[in-house]
Subunit: 393 residues, 4 copies
């Protein structure tokens, strides 16, 4: 499985092509649109979110509700494009310099991207660097989650901190279904109602100050069998692949698995998860500090990932910057933006984890039809049972 | 540039093949061997380190001290193999069950890898999952650093925490050369002499208890021009690639860029690095919280990365585990190991960062000979100068 | 550079996403549409070609006529879709079995693809296996040719045989510009007017018989400097890459470089192209039997490639087949088709060669903007000049 | 599955690392060494073949005769290196200019490679461009064939032409086992004893003239189920992949599948292979002109591939060339070489086909252990049986 995405924030549409999906996967468009809506939700969003009500159009690879094995292409139209057609035109004759950007925002790709691609109009950078691109990542990841759900592999993303407000529980004792339910009701996709209240206050205060806030979200994945990922070559380790996927989400500056940075401060005897057998000879761990990954491989426990998002780099109270056109100091451009997008980021995080795990899953249980994938998976489960003998997982 | 590595911990040798190096790169074997020695050093290592004095043999791709453009292959012999020839034999007749492992160590690949590959003898997993494989990663990364050094791009890894002992300074005010010098003198590759003393005590205490310790290291990279990595597609973002590379080092559970998790707790106005001009119209940042990466692209500031290593999973005071051969509870096997390998991990971290940055550098400044790469780099530097006009970087 | 394509023959549209184009490339939509029209032309086409007048829509990656460095996405709408909306619907409720195909055509992907993806309706295979997909390949390859044209690298495809009619000259003495001009006037994109007349007769005869015809086309590429491709690793050889690209065009069963199969029958003294110097000390070859590639690398001579296309597998006079629904012998389904598509294949061949060479060119002269690519190319040309000293290329 | 190869013709050794082999594959070293010996055999070889008796050393990835899932690394030592240690030294101090090459051989990588990598000593090119590298490709491909043989998939390469001598039969009526037996007895790995006699005469004549000869070989693959490769994306088509692999063998200038170029000259009614059912309702084709591949997918028939090899470019009666050191016309360097290496090429061809098919096989029937691969394969075979109902394959 592989995919490419395309599209600018104010262009006609965002596009994705997924190649390598097995045939026979049921594509629930409603579910995919719900995920797109989740990405657009959460407290602290700006005006754009009320313009766009993202809806997916599937242009190929699906017939009568099921994948055919051919590349699945999807499009999400930008409604706002109607107001930007001239500015974003592909026609050379339309160039007027309207909405040209020459003053890069600190924290964004503007300056580095402008230099890299030698673009005088930084709009050519920021239109693609915009987090709007993550809509495709949510669509693509949600399609992967349809595949995983077939095997009862379910992930759930939720917010554990906004600014300096930490939620009291991480929800590890809850299962993914319950988490999904609870976050659906929450303005911050958060499991701690009291913290949520404080988060709201902080976001309101930040908005008033023309400031922005970041936070931390967590993604858990339930139902994975042991054996996804591999220790045999560094680039096949699932821990590295998941960290890479999460860190590539705009704004993410830290990624942790299981105990994460806390693991560095404790002795081995308190970090590693002892292996015991319960009364039915089922393997159990008395803790899950590894977050479900040992040696870069799933160990059968719940995957626990955490990512830190920096505050949105577009501040209403603009930061100091320069003007590349004049060579002078000037405030950074202010492009319409959110005050806090951590809830949205938790949805994107869930999606990229679904994609990466779906990909690793298909590498192990490859097949050209869902039936074939299912049988490969079932065979492995039987082999593992035989391998373990009296012991169960 | 790409590479594959091979080799088991107690097999005859570790091997690597690097494909895609430009011709004309001067290969300093002494330097490479020094890096291998650094990886073997640091306080807290076990007995293996005194057996092996890793030395690199270059088997192809280099003639008269310079690369030819052909694949560079390298070998690091395992001296300990002499004692393991029968146990690690490729000959079917040699199988005796000697040193067979059936009791997986929590925290290691043993259990998940055994299940995945259906191996009755977990040695077939642990021999490859062993951190000994990182010797190749150090060799490969150090070769990339020879390439980068040609462009005055220098990285330095150092330890900032061991167990609960935090070093007082992160050394960001120091340059890479000074850091290299100072860590060379330190038992823990650490810049804080007082912390080092405490670290030593903690390691001694842990060893006495049969326990192990983790820690945190940092890698900085100086001298990168703006424009390495890209925002245009998620898998080309340098932040994601670096995080993936670091998280794929055995034992790493957390990765951070710049402020990392701290960035999540502060408002945008205190996180983003304002762009100012100094008296010579040179772009400066009044802070480097982004750690040199904005929008997944280098912005010209120092790259700052941090990784958290969990304690070594092989404890002398073994953790509870099971015996896959008997189906009963049993203590985990005890394979000779270190008490603390955070200093070594800092060397591996530096190496994988060098490799990933070298790769991204070559993607931008491709060329089949060093002269060609140099001219591509010089052209870009001139273009950037033109682009910025009066402003300088 | 990489791309993915998507789309079915009777779906709403064909799509492509190209990732990795440098910024600043001028995209001439007229030129691209001309290439699409060329693919639809040639004598011997069926009814579909009069329904579709392919036009490209660029959806991202281009602003004011130039690439921005962001992924370029393109769409070609299928006008015929209006008549197929129900049949090709993504909605599960629309499934009626209309136009279901259960009888596979020999020579097509139908049977093997149906088995592979376990599809009861072979339409789910043939819609994607249809040569209509090559419209995207032409679009993508033509974009690469815009890049190459900037460096005066020009390719030209033309037909050298249709059925048993061989054109008398291969046009190697002509340059690409002249070939393009002459083929534009030809019903068969052929340089031999007399042969063309015979080809037309053969196609008319075949149509009357309900039969189809194949043929041979040639693609030449002028202007490549020596040094594209590499001998150092098998998968970097340009000969292998070009052969793979050509053989992956539907219907191609043979690929040749330079003398091709004839080279096998002659002694080395008559095959290898002697290197001589002309009066200006310019390197010349007294022949070009190697077709411009030695050791998998361009040698500065014209690239000469040839591909054999089998006859179209959909015959009006259907071949014997089976019915997978009934398990009985039955004639193959007849899907609207062409009698001869060799002229179109020559356009597709030219396009895939442009893509593959464009990719190899960008691997050597990478850069994020056209200016940067140009400087990398110029630097190399200067280095080669220095390298050769008095000798010139 | 992926691999990298390394090593020069007169360096210490050739190396390969294969990553992605399933665990539990039995590695028969004797078989692998036989294949290496076959590559060294055949009538018409030069002196080098009597110096080297290639033997494989496996350095990792295999324990007690079976793969473990870890990267398999292999080494083939160059015995001739003993005579070349100074010339091929990695030590800067050893550079003396001994055996420096400045006069490129037409037909070889020498000139293009020298320019590309800016090498004054063309030995830095020819040492890697040497066909000696194909020893690794034979080793790697033979390991893939061990995997395939487990599923009764067997390939056989044999020579069908040397110079202007064509063998009378192509052996398609023979199975792979018989072909292997018959070619083992043949000086030219050819099935036609009379042609063999003529081939020998032609080689003797060529040697006397200081000339060289090429030829054509064929590779067939038996036992593949329908469904390997895919029509859904151009780069997944097995026809393109196989053509790319064959064309990347040094000296190959033409590749054909099934009827190949002949298919271009015949009408569709005589080219496509009708699908019929025999008395047991088993699918049969009344011909195999497609060579087992339709739509880029295996269709269950025997795969038939053919490749044309040009004559060896090193002639004792050297061709005209230039001297890059003096800028003057001069005869090409004469490096020890063969008169005819088509038999060897047929072994390499068989090997690269095995690798590529093994790779495609593993993409469909992925698994981390042979047992798992076997079960995936078995599941698919059962699904295909169900899919076809009364019809059988």
């Amino acid at each position: 499985m592989r995919y490419l995405s395309a599209g600018e924030s104010h262009g006609p549409s965002l596009l994705g092509i997924i190649e390598g999906l097995p045939a026979g996967l049921i594509i629930k468009e409603d579910y995919l649109n719900q995920q797109l809506a989740r990405r657009q939700g959460g407290y602290g969003r700006g005006g754009r979110m009320s313009i766009e009500k993202d809806r997916l159009k599937i242009l190929s690879g699906v017939r009568f509700g099921k994948t055919t094995g051919s590349p699945l292409s999807l499009m999400i139209e930008n409604r706002d494009w109607l107001n930007w057609q001239k500015v974003m035109s592909t026609d050379p004759l339309d160039e007027t310099g309207e909405r040209k950007v020459t003053s890069p925002r600190p924290g964004h790709a503007d300056l580095a991207g402008g230099i890299k691609y030698l673009q005088r109009d930084l709009r050519n950078v920021l239109e693609r660097a915009s987090a709007r691109e993550t809509a495709v990542r949510v669509a693509v990841g949600s399609i992967a989650s349809l595949l995983l759900a077939h095997f009862k592999i379910v992930s759930a993303g939720f917010v554990v901190a906004v600014g300096d407000v930490q939620a009291s529980s991480r929800g590890l004792e809850l299962n993914a279904g319950v988490i999904k339910e609870k976050t659906a009701d929450s303005l911050f996709y958060c499991l701690d109602k009291e913290a949520e209240q404080l988060m709201r206050e902080r976001v309101d205060q930040a908005r008033e100050r023309g400031d922005t806030l970041g936070g931390v979200f967590e993604v858990i994945v339930e139902g994975l069998p042991p054996g996804i990922g591999s220790h045999v070559h560094w680039d096949r380790r699932l821990d590295g692949r998941l960290a890479g996927a999460l860190m590539s989400i705009p704004g993410i500056k830290g990624v942790a698995i299981g105990l994460g940075f806390e693991a560095a401060g404790k002795p081995g005897s308190l970090v590693h998860d002892p292996i015991v057998l319960d009364e039915n000879k089922k393997i159990r761990r008395t803790s899950n500090n590894a977050g479900g990954l040992e040696g870069g491989i799933t160990n059968g426990e719940v995957i626990v990932l955490r990512a830190a998002m920096k505050p949105i780099p577009t501040l209403t109270k603009a930061l100091s910057s320069i003007d590349l056109a004049t060579g002078k100091i000037r405030d950074a451009v202010v492009e319409r933006s959110d005050v806090c997008a951590v809830p949205a980021a938790s949805v994107v995080g869930e999606a990229v984890v679904n994609w990466e795990i779906g990909k690793a899953f298909m590498e192990k249980f490859s097949g050209d039809s869902m039936t074939e994938v299912e049988m490969a998976w079932q065979s492995y489960m039987n082999l593992v049972k035989d391998y373990l003998g009296e012991i169960k997982i």
